[in-house]
Structure formats: structure tokens, C-alpha cells
């Protein structure tokens, strides 16, 4: 078993819009241990969305090395990357991004459909995942029949169903009121306690404060990488200290 869930080395991402080059990431080094709960922060334009997309295998870095759960992703094609997203990553979005017209059970089991799991097993596992997020009785409700918090929990169940190496959340509480946000953050904490690796991208200090470690980005570089008041350095922290001289 590999202890390092995410290992980013000198990640550079440059976009070309017409003749103008945009340097979204200018050499990011980041190591995330298995079981960590980490927040990535930064103002808009700092490159945090790009970093999120790179970590989520939705985008490829222009240069640099990315190993996810020990797998070098630089050589993989679209099909293989789709497989990585399917097996290693669980996405949670600000806008929930559930399929409309499709009930909670179907939404949650969708990744299993792509993983070619039998319908029977899909149903069973979806039921279990919904139970894990406290929505056992909402399986046949469509997204429009659920509250925002419930929709986000369905999305979390969907993210969890393939037992991914990393849970990747992009502003997970951005569309929720504070009480519901609290519910979701509590859920994250309990997932963290059960050993999940969680990466949250946010600009909300309160959300970031719930993580154990906060990485701040500015202008495509890591500005700081520090444990929060809840955080405690594990063995991997030495690696992180080595990354700090970037400052």
C-alpha cells in the first residue's frame, strides 16, 4: 500500500487564449498523505480551480509529474484517465451536479454503471452509500424533490460509492445555508475519521479551518502550506516542510 495519495511535482499549467499565454500554475509541489483532510485556498485567479482540475484528472498539466495513489498519470490516455476518475476519485461539486430526472439511487449508482457492476450489486451498494450519508429513505426522490443539503449528501454518496482513494470537493458548501453547511462539514469530519482522504477547494476560511491542513495559492504558486489548529503533523510533514522553501 502506498501512503502517499497525491504527489504533485513541479506542476505547470499554461493556457493559450489566442496569442496570450495564461500561466495558471507555475510549478506546484504538493504531497498529500493517505487519510489527510486538506483545504486548498486562494483568491480567484490564484490557480486553485486549475489545480483542482489537475488533481481530478480532468485536465493535464503542461509539465510536471503527478502520481495519484502511486500511479504515474502523465502517460495515460483519455480512456485510462476516465478509469482513474472512476476508480480513484470521488467528486463533490458546489452545484451538486446530480443528473436531473434521475432519482437519488440512480445518481448514486451511476459510477458503478460505468464500472460495469451488475444492476443488483449497484442497487445494494447505492442503498448502503445513501444510508452512510443518512438518506436511506430518499432513494427514489429526484434531485428537485430534495433540499440543497440532501442533494449534496446524495452527491457525496455518489462520490463515495466506488471507494475512491481521494474525495475531491469543490466549494462543497458554496450553495448551502450555514446550518446545512455545518451538516455537510460534520459529515466530512466523520468521513475523515473513518480514514478517507479529503481535498476541499474553498475560499471560505471557516470551511478551511475544519481541515487539518491548509494550502494557500497565489498566482499559480503555493504561498503557504500549514497545519490548522486541528491539524497535527504526521510523518509526511517532513516532506511538506521541504516544500515550504518555495515561499
Amino acid at each position: 500500500m502506498n501512503d502517499i495519495a497525491i504527489d504533485l511535482q513541479e506542476i505547470v499549467k499554461t493556457y493559450k487564449t489566442g496569442t496570450i499565454e495564461v500561466h495558471a500554475l507555475r510549478g506546484v509541489n504538493l504531497r498529500i498523505q493517505r487519510g489527510e483532510y486538506i483545504a486548498i485556498m486562494g483568491p480567484s485567479g490564484s490557480g486553485k480551480s486549475t489545480l483542482m482540475n489537475v488533481i481530478g484528472c480532468l485536465d493535464r498539466p503542461t509539465s510536471g509529474n503527478y502520481r495519484l495513489d502511486g500511479i504515474d498519470l502523465s502517460t495515460l490516455d483519455d480512456r485510462a484517465l476516465a478509469k482513474i476518475r472512476l476508480e480513484k476519485l470521488g467528486f463533490i461539486f458546489q452545484g451538486f451536479n446530480l443528473l436531473p430526472r434521475t432519482d437519488a439511487m440512480k445518481n448514486v449508482s451511476l459510477p458503478l454503471f460505468y464500472a460495469k457492476v451488475s444492476p443488483k450489486e449497484r442497487r445494494e451498494r447505492a442503498r448502503a452509500a445513501l444510508a452512510e450519508v443518512g438518506l436511506a429513505d430518499r432513494g427514489h426522490h429526484k434531485p428537485s424533490e430534495l433540499s440543497g443539503g440532501q442533494q449534496q449528501r446524495v452527491a457525496i454518496a455518489r462520490a463515495l460509492i466506488n471507494n475512491p482513494a481521494v474525495l475531491l470537493a469543490d466549494e462543497p458548501t458554496g450553495n448551502l445555508d450555514s446550518a446545512t453547511s455545518e451538516e455537510i462539514l460534520t459529515l466530512f469530519e466523520s468521513l475523515h475519521r473513518s480514514g478517507r482522504t479529503i481535498v476541499v477547494v474553498t475560499h471560505d476560511e471557516e470551511v478551511a479551518e475544519r481541515a487539518n491542513r491548509v494550502v494557500r495559492l497565489r498566482d499559480g504558486l503555493i504561498l503557504s502550506d500549514l497545519p490548522t489548529s486541528r491539524g497535527h503533523f504526521s510523518e509526511g510533514s517532513i516532506v511538506q516542510r521541504e516544500a515550504i522553501p518555495q515561499l
Binding site: N53, G56, L58, D59, D78, R79, A82, K83, R85, L86, E87, F91, F93, G95, N97, L98, L99, P100, R101, T102, K106, L110, P111, F113, Y114, A115, R158, N162
Partner: protein, 402 residues
């Protein structure tokens, strides 16, 4: 796969009006093509049925009217024997003689077709009373006759049954013929096609020759071949044998295969025209389906992004949209097929059954295969571009898209 199908059906239901409008073209196209198939099959069956009323192995041979010496080409009784002996596959040949004439029974005077026949039967109508012309009648040139169903009803309208007229006499001019048999109705006959070469009153061909043709050249010869020989070979051999016997004279033949071909050709043309119209509406339908798929791709960009983020590869998205295209196209084809079978059947009931009394079985299997084929072609031709566009959706852009 099943999930995609279910998903597509849900979408079609959610946009019912749009779906119906899109599929109308496809329905019309498929319906046109299938209905004409059914009607043509029905017509073909009817034509075949009509020719079942006569023995199809029959042909007629005549001297060509324009040639050097028509005298030399004249046919006589000796030519009958020659054909019987020298052309393999000939069952019998008789002088062709048929005329429309007034036939008199006790109180009736009716214009009917009157001619000579052999004991080998040309008509396939069943004998319902007495017997057909017998060999002995031909050999003795007996003054006897067999009545068709029509002649029986016209000449003896008050007869209790066909048996009652056996032994009665009919007159043509001063000549008297005794009724020895009555035929039943031929359920199908060439009469329905406007050509009827069956006689209403048939007498032995020897009697006919003695009474009407003696001393004159034969107008033509009617040849009945056996089922083993092909008509074309028989005709060619007969022409050659007669030509050799008459110093190189030229002979013409006539048979019903020619008619059958003509009729088939006519329906071929009609079928081609209707199929062309069908093909055009299929083209329009395909473009409509392509349009709805493009709309669906842009409406569901976000959904595609979600699916991609969750782990669907480009190939998976491509397949999903192909399945959607196929479900759309197949449902249209299926409705079109049912409509086509319905219309074709109706056409048979109204136009064909009245003439022939037959209805061809509906070609269900071919229709289903045809509908599937159309759906597949439409999917491949018109589904590819939208599916490729769907597969090329960038998940990052799509998820940002509100």
C-alpha cells in the same frame, strides 16, 4: 445499455411534441416503403393467382404475317403431329381456334367464346358435372361440348343444377353439340386482368377443325408442354422444327409469361417511385433526428460533463448518444412499419382482394428487418456527428456551464 435506453425514452417523453414532430418524417418514409412492399406483394400474388386459372405451360405459335411466302408458312394438321413427335417436352398440340359467336340453347341466344380443345386440359377450372372432353371424343370428332360456369348460367338460367343440363343440346348456326360436362367457376382467372383465353363453350378440336377449318390453313397452334421443359426452350424448339419443315419460314410464339413480366414491370416502376419518395422522406427524417440530437447535446452539456467527471470516457459518451439516436430512429421506424403494414393491408383489402379474392400474408419479418435496417442506417449516418460532438465536450467547461 438498458439504462441508456430507459434514459432516452424518458427524454422523448419529456419532450413529446418535439419527438413526434421529429419522427413524423421517419414514420412517413418507412410507412411509404413498407406499404408499397405489401401492396406489391399482394398484387404479385393476385397476378400469380390469375394465371393459375390457366395452364402456364401453354404457348401459341403462329406464322409471322410479314415474310416472303406466307403460303409456304401456312400450318396444317400434319404440323400438330410433327410438334408432338419432334419437340421433346410437348404434351399435346391442337389447332388454335377460338371465336366469339352466338350460341343458342332452347330459349337463350348468347354471344360466347367458342373454340376447340384437347382432352388434355388447358383451363384449370374444376369439372362440376359430367366429364371433360375425353380422348375418344377427340379421336371420333364427336359433336359434344363442355360449358364454362358462365356459359352454363347464361344458356341455362333456369336449370336446377349443372347435372340437369347434361345431354341437352346447344346450337351454333345449324350445328348441334351435346353437353357432356360443366365446369365450375375458376376462382381466379386471367379475365380479371382483361385477357381471357378460356373458352365458354369448348368442343373437341377435331370437331372444331371438321366443322370450321377444313380445307383452310390453321390460324395457329396451341401447345401444352409438360412441367419439366422450360417454356423458352419449348418455344425455340417448336419454331425451329416448324421452320425446318416449311422451308425456313418464320414463326412467332406467344405465352403468358410475357404478361406476367409486363405486370411485374409495372409494379416495379410504381415501387421504385414510391421507394424514392420514401427515401427522400427518410433523408429529411434523418436530418431532423440529427437536429434533435444536436439540441440534446447542447441542452445536456452539463450532464455530459458530470458523467465525464464521474468516470465516463469519451467512448462511453459516444456510445450513449449512439444508443439514443438508435432508440429514436428505431421507435420512428417501428411506428412507420406498423403504419405501412396497416396501409398496405388496407390497399390489399380495397383494391386487390376485390379482383383476385386473395390477400397476401403481411411480411412481418421482412418489415421488422427493414425497420431495423433503416434505424441502423439513420443512426450511423445522422447520429455520428452529434455523438462525436457530445464525446468532445470538455468536462471542465461543461461543469462551469450553467
Amino acid at each position: 445499455m438498458f439504462d441508456y435506453i430507459r434514459e432516452t425514452l424518458d427524454l422523448m417523453q419529456a419532450n413529446l411534441t418535439r419527438t413526434i414532430l421529429t419522427l413524423i418524417g421517419l414514420v412517413v418514409g418507412v410507412a411509404a416503403i413498407i406499404s408499397i412492399q405489401v401492396a406489391a406483394a399482394g398484387m404479385a400474388a393476385a397476378v400469380n393467382g390469375a394465371f393459375r386459372g390457366i395452364n402456364m405451360n401453354t404457348f401459341f405459335i403462329f406464322p409471322k404475317s410479314t415474310q416472303g411466302s406466307t403460303q409456304r408458312a401456312n400450318l396444317g394438321l400434319s404440323d400438330l403431329e410433327l410438334l408432338d413427335k419432334s419437340v421433346p417436352g410437348v404434351e399435346t398440340s391442337i389447332p388454335f381456334g377460338q371465336t366469339r359467336t352466338i350460341v343458342n340453347a332452347r330459349h337463350q341466344h348468347v354471344m360466347l367464346k367458342f373454340g376447340g380443345e384437347s382432352y388434355r386440359r388447358f383451363s384449370t377450372a374444376p369439372v362440376v358435372a359430367g366429364h371433360a372432353i375425353a380422348r375418344v371424343d377427340v379421336e371420333n370428332a364427336s359433336p359434344v361440348c363442355v360449358l364454362s360456369d358462365k356459359a352454363y348460367h347464361r344458356l341455362f338460367p333456369h336449370a336446377a343444377d349443372p347435372d340437369a343440363v347434361l345431354g341437352q343440346s346447344v346450337y351454333i348456326g345449324p350445328k348441334r353439340y351435346v353437353v357432356i360436362g360443366v365446369l365450375g367457376p375458376a376462382t381466379l382467372s386471367t379475365a380479371s386482368l382483361g385477357i381471357d383465353i378460356n373458352n365458354d363453350v369448348a368442343i373437341p378440336y377435331t370437331t372444331f377443325y371438321n366443322d370450321y377449318q377444313r380445307g383452310r390453313p390453321l390460324f395457329g397452334i396451341q401447345v401444352l408442354g409438360n412441367r419439366k421443359a422450360s417454356l423458352a426452350t419449348l418455344e425455340a424448339n417448336a419454331k425451329r422444327v416448324l421452320s425446318d419443315a416449311h422451308g425456313g419460314s418464320i414463326y412467332q410464339t406467344f405465352d403468358f409469361a410475357f404478361f406476367a413480366k409486363k405486370i411485374d414491370g409495372f409494379f416495379g416502376v410504381v415501387g421504385t417511385i414510391v421507394s424514392a419518395v420514401g427515401a427522400i422522406s427518410l433523408l429529411v427524417a434523418g436530418i431532423g433526428i440529427m437536429n434533435i440530437l444536436f439540441v440534446s447535446v447542447s441542452e445536456r452539456t452539463r450532464e455530459i460533463g458530470i458523467r465525464r467527471a464521474i468516470g465516463a470516457s469519451r467512448a462511453t459518451i459516444l456510445i450513449q448518444f449512439f444508443v439514443e439516436a438508435f432508440v429514436l430512429a428505431f421507435s420512428g421506424s417501428l411506428v412507420g412499419m406498423l403504419a405501412g403494414l396497416g396501409i398496405g393491408d388496407l390497399a390489399q383489402q380495397i383494391f386487390i382482394a376485390r379482383i383476385s379474392g386473395t390477400i397476401a400474408a403481411l411480411p412481418w419479418l421482412q418489415s421488422i428487418l427493414l425497420a431495423t435496417l433503416f434505424a441502423t442506417v439513420v443512426t450511423l449516418v445522422f447520429g455520428t456527428l452529434p455523438a462525436l460532438r457530445a464525446a468532445s465536450v470538455d468536462p471542465i467547461e461543461a461543469l462551469r456551464y450553467e
